[in-house]
């Protein structure tokens, strides 16, 4: 505790003394990660500006600058979050993680039952005072990863044991995923998969993981089966009529299940119902990709953006390929891979298990989210509501992504500080150091 206070005062002193020293002094942590973040936000600025054309027409009489301005504000806000998050000693996140996780559970429950409905799923709550909708799963995800990092780092000795190691870790994952699933199955599945990966890295027994995977597969298989049955039995007219009736009658979960089945069905059997919204989106995305060619049609020249309903959001990757070509798309992929690689470096260099797992967990989930988004765009996965981290147009997910990156950079900054011996002693309390070094060697 005393140490943290000291850090605080030192930071203040640093701020006062050397603003002139520039960002170098203040924005610490992996420079490459910083650069990648700047690069991605620049891409997002270009892509969002181009892709919001039709939205701007609908809402602001073609004044596209409105969205450009909004995005700029989000980016500035995001950088502020990254900056402040990375200035915080990451060990604090260990404590915050638990509170945040416990808080996230009732929040998710509230969202599920009273949340704002957007795109069918009840995923959002309106945050009082700032009057902005927020996807609670974004917060829950972050909280869960932080909490997992904490749990994994603490349970390393007993990790192979089912009762002492596995159960305490899997239960929070289960709770969060189950609460997110009804409104947003894809996010829940993605989150589950990321968690599994983190557990795998955290040396959880593969046997146990397979068990969980097996359990999770049961409902998925059921969905697939349902899709197969529905596709083979029903002519569209009947199904849509009945489903609409079902929707009206029961609402809630039944509707969602129906949507999932529909999505899986569409994915498996392709667009026979061309007017179907999701098939339309996927087809438009493919059109965009096809039009892009190798080098693209050039910034601002996308035509598909006017037809692609989520061009600025979930399907922004399609617009990027259309405007910047396969090369542009590959570049974006490359950025995420480099980002992940740099985070792994942080993980490797971080002597403390919590920090290492924190950086790794957050970076992997971002990378997985990015790949999932792009996989949806190219129709490898069925349509989900996952954004492309840092590139899709602002909103709460953008800010939470920034927070996650801030936390990663915080770990990175501490690693750098550790590698400068004179600071190391001051920065980290000895007790923690000892414990964590021991854990790390075990890993």
């Amino acid at each position: 505790m005393a140490a943290t206070a000291e850090i605080g005062s030192e930071e203040k002193a640093a701020k006062v003394s050397s603003w002139k020293g520039g960002l170098d002094q203040h924005a610490r942590g992996d420079k490459v990660i910083w650069a990648l973040v700047v690069l991605l936000t620049l891409v997002s600025l270009l892509a969002v500006y181009s892709a919001t054309g039709s939205l701007a027409y609908k809402k602001y009489k073609g004044n596209t600058e409105v969205y450009l301005f909004k995005q700029v504000v989000f980016i500035l806000l995001g950088f502020a979050i990254v900056y402040f998050a990375h200035r915080v000693n990451y060990t604090i996140y260990s404590k915050v993680a638990r509170i945040l996780f416990i808080l996230s559970i009732p929040l998710l429950a509230y969202t599920l039952f009273f949340g704002v409905k957007m795109n069918e799923g009840s995923r959002w709550i309106r945050v009082p005072f700032i009057n902005m909708t927020m996807q609670t799963s974004d917060l829950a995800k972050l909280a869960l990863f932080m909490y997992l990092a904490r749990l994994l780092s603490r349970k390393q000795q007993v990790i192979k044991s089912f009762k002492k190691g596995f159960l305490p870790v899997i239960i929070p994952i289960g709770i969060t995923c189950l609460l997110i699933a009804p409104a947003n199955l894809s996010t829940a599945l993605l989150l589950g998969a990321s968690c599994m990966m983190l557990l795998f890295i955290g040396r959880v027994s593969v046997k146990h993981l397979l068990l969980v995977a097996g359990l999770a597969l049961v409902p998925i298989m059921m969905l697939v089966m349902a899709a197969v049955v529905r596709h083979n039995s029903g002519k569209d007219v009947d199904t849509t009529e009945t489903t609409q009736a079902v929707k009206k009658a029961t609402g809630g979960l039944t509707t969602r299940v129906d949507t999932w089945i529909g999505r899986v069905e569409n994915f498996m059997y392709g667009g026979k119902e061309a007017d179907n919204d999701e098939m339309y989106q996927v087809n438009q995305a493919k059109i965009a990709i096809a039009k892009g060619g190798f080098v693209g049609v050039g910034p601002g020249n996308s035509t598909t953006r006017d037809y692609l309903p989520q061009a600025y959001n979930d399907f922004i990757f399609a617009i990027i390929i259309e405007e910047y070509g396969l090369i542009g798309g590959a570049f974006i992929l490359f950025i995420y891979i480099v980002f992940l690689y740099r985070c792994i470096r942080v993980f490797k260099r971080c002597p403390f298990a919590f920090g290492a797992f924190l950086a790794l967990g957050l970076s992997f989930t971002l990378a997985i989210q990015a790949v999932a988004n792009m996989a949806v765009t190219v129709n490898l996965f069925p349509v989900t509501g996952v954004t492309l981290p840092l590139v899709s147009m602002g909103g709460s997910s953008f800010l939470f992504t920034c927070l996650a990156i801030g936390i990663i950079l915080s770990v990175s900054r501490n690693v750098e500080n550790l590698e400068r011996p004179q600071l190391a002693a001051e920065e980290v309390s000895e007790e923690v150091v000892e414990v964590e070094i021991a854990e790390k060697t075990n890993a």
Partner: protein
């Protein structure tokens, strides 16, 4: 650490998969998606070309297109419904008031009520106003709500064009209709008749095309993918609005007073074949009004006596009869001619008449005999003559859907002979008034047959694209002597024969032929007492300017049915009015405007003019005949010397004459001449064509 790298490699592999998939979409299925994209995002929109206008010869619009607008409202428009219909609630009242104020067809409250209902129902295509003019549309555009634009007000504007005829009834059938209708397959088709149909492809123009890309704000044209529409060409007709009015009025008056079935009157310019007026009036079966409901001018019927001139021409041309040959017609108005009995409508003035008198008094017996004498041995030969007069083929007028004429078989047998004799006085043959007029015009034009035509020129934005020229069908339909004889007999009809009464007192000479035919066509039988009365001829006889035919079909049992009673008065009215307005005025008008040397007008002694021209070695067109007095005017840059009509007790035109000539002429006729000014005669106090008393004073204005 291996676990981390395994996961990392997994992610990298996934990334490669994504990239691979994108490549497949682009390279392998690319064509499919791109074409699908184009078809979904772009559409080819037709740009309508404006239909051309039909003009009269002097540039008056006879048929033109005006834009009209159908206004709809989309009550589901996003802007309108925004914030629970804030815009709607705020503006709908003032909009309703504006609508009621402007259109005055409903009260503001009624409008408001209808809007509310439509809004509640969420009507997407509420018909607000249909077929409003551009002026109304301009006003509507400024109404509250509407002026907020399409997105906010939900206003939908559909433009179309409406074909209007500014002169209404005038030559309506000939100008034609261009009306859109929906056919059985639900497609919009156009129903055209008349010139609108004949020149449809020219009037229509070529629709343009434009590629538009849909964006959420509407459709945006794609640059470089636009084919401009080519507007329809304008058709300048030969029709003259005033002459058309004269013809139509004269015809209508007669039809109304006699309750006739239908009538047609055609006026043709003799030298060129230009149709100056064409009136077609049919009786509305439900009331007593008349409307241009069919082109009767082209309808083929048994013509009756007007065809006798053909028999006359053929017999004279063949040489079997000479002018002055006598034929016995008897006094019973009934006689056996060859194999059949022929009756005349009335007893002839003399039992034996010259061939000219047979024409003039319209003797069926006489003409039957003429026909039999000429072609009795070989009826087929008559057909060759009919072919020469173009009575066996469709009229060459530039209209489509002209019905073909019909000629009963003319063979070397009993039936052929019967047909020949019958044909000689106008039955067993079906021809249209237009064909007969063409023949009479050829006689007027000294044997040269010109094709009738309705279109002078085709113009594209005022620039002449195609100029129609008079077309000669036959250089000479008969020997000059035959033509001369025919002209004489046609004049005789008016001076002595069946047209004498009607044309009495007309200050210029008319030549023509009456015709009265029993009608048997469709459901009408000869016995029904339906007649077709006609008069075909030309005027002025000495120097024919216009030819005209009037044909009127009576209703069954009508009291008046003779051509001389029904058709000739219409002819007379048309002829006198046209004569005074055009034949006469033509001359002073061109004199007044004679500032340049290409247009001039002189009048004077025929001999003097000829002498001067001969002395100066100027070639000129001599249409003098035997007149003592002549006018000389420019026609196609060539001086034409024409004889002036000078008849006793009718005031001649002395315009353009020198004082010496004028005084000599007028004093010879017994007038006392007073003179004002100096130069050539500009005006005369007694109008040409009017009668005067001997010793009357006439004042000449010289300038």
């Amino acid at each position: 650490m291996w676990r981390v790298y395994l996961c990392f490699i997994g992610i990298v592999l996934l990334c490669l998969l994504v990239l691979g998939r994108a490549t497949v979409i682009q390279r392998v299925q690319g064509e499919h998606w791109r074409s699908m994209g184009d078809s979904m995002h772009q559409k080819i929109v037709e740009i309508n070309a404006d239909r051309g206008t039909i003009f009269s010869e002097d540039g008056q619009m006879l048929s033109t297109s005006l834009p009209q607008f159908d206004i709809y409202m989309d009550f589901m428009a996003e802007g309108l419904r925004l914030k629970d219909g804030k815009v709607y609630r705020e503006y709908i009242d003032s909009f309703a008031v504006a609508m009621a104020d402007y259109f005055k067809d409903k009260t503001a409250r009624q409008y408001r009520k209808e809007f509310d209902e439509a809004y509640k129902k969420g009507s997407r295509y509420y018909a607000l106003k249909k077929k409003i003019s551009f002026e109304d549309f301009k006003a509507l555009r400024e109404f509250p709500l509407v002026r907020m634009g399409k997105n906010k007000s939900g206003i939908i504007v559909e433009e179309s064009s409406k074909r209007i005829a500014p002169f209404g009834l005038l030559a309506n059938r000939t100008i034609g209709l261009s009306r859109a209708y929906v056919n059985s397959e639900g497609k919009i088709k156009k129903m055209n008749v008349g010139l609108e149909m004949s020149y449809d492809s020219l009037l229509n123009g070529q629709n343009g095309q434009r590629v538009v890309r849909y964006i959420s704000g509407g459709a945006v044209p794609v640059e470089g993918f636009q084919v401009e529409p080519e507007d329809g060409k304008d058709v300048y007709t030969t029709l003259d609005v005033n002459m058309q009015d004269i013809a139509e009025t004269a015809l209508l008056r007669m039809l109304q007073s006699t309750h006739a079935e239908y009538g047609t009157a055609i006026l043709m310019e003799t030298k060129t074949g230009k149709i100056k007026a064409i009136a077609n009036l049919g009786r509305n079966p439900n009331d007593t009004t008349y409307w241009e409901n069919d082109n009767y001018a082209l309808r083929v019927t048994e013509p009756g006596s007007t065809i006798k001139i053909a028999t006359y021409l053929a017999a004279l041309d063949k040489g079997t009869s000479k002018p002055g040959d006598l034929f016995e017609v008897g006094s019973a108005a009934r006689m056996q001619v060859g194999p059949r009995i022929i009756s005349d409508a009335h007893a002839m003035p003399r039992p034996v008449m010259t061939i000219e008198e047979c024409v003039a008094h319209s003797s069926n017996i006489g003409m039957g005999k003429v026909g039999m004498k000429a072609f009795g041995k070989d009826p087929e030969e008559f057909k060759q003559y009919l072919a020469k007069y173009h009575l066996d083929k469709k009229s060459t007028i530039d209209l489509s859907g002209v019905p073909p004429p019909g000629i009963a078989p003319l063979k070397k047998d009993h039936g052929g002979l019967m047909n020949l004799i019958t044909m000689s006085f106008g039955y067993a043959i079906r021809v249209s008034p237009m064909q007969l007029l063409t023949l009479y015009n050829a006689i007027a034009n000294n044997g040269e047959m010109v094709s009738p035509y309705l279109v002078n020129s085709i113009r594209n934005k005022g620039v002449i694209v195609k100029q129609m020229e008079p077309r000669v069908l036959e250089e000479a339909i008969a020997k000059p002597a035959t033509i001369k004889a025919a002209q004489k007999s046609l004049e005789l009809v008016v001076t002595e024969g069946s047209g004498k009464k009607v044309f009495e007192g007309v200050p210029f000479q008319i030549a023509g032929k009456t015709g009265t035919a029993h009608v048997a066509d469709g459901n009408t039988k000869y016995g029904h007492g339906v007649y077709q009365a006609s008069f075909a001829g030309y005027f002025p006889a000495e120097n024919p300017q216009y030819s005209c035919i009037v044909t009127i079909r009576t209703r069954a049992g009508a009291g008046m049915y003779y051509g001389g009673q029904l058709a000739a008065p219409v002819f007379r009215e048309i002829a006198t009015k046209v004569y005074s307005m055009y034949v006469e005025r033509k001359t002073p008008k061109s004199y007044e405007g004679a500032r340049d040397s290409t247009s001039y007008f002189y009048a004077g002694s025929a001999k003097a003019i000829k002498n001067v021209l001969a002395l100066l070695d100027i070639p000129f067109v001599d249409s003098l005949a035997s007149s003592r007095w002549a006018t000389m005017y420019a026609k196609k840059y060539k001086p034409v010397v024409t004889g002036s009509v000078v008849r006793n007790s009718v005031m001649p035109s002395v315009k353009g004459m020198g004082l010496r000539d004028a005084i000599r002429l007028l004093e010879q006729m017994g007038l006392r001449v007073k003179v004002q000014g100096s130069g050539k005669v500009q005006g005369q106090s007694i109008a040409p064509g009017t009668s005067f008393a001997k010793g009357q004073a006439v004042t000449l204005n010289l300038a």
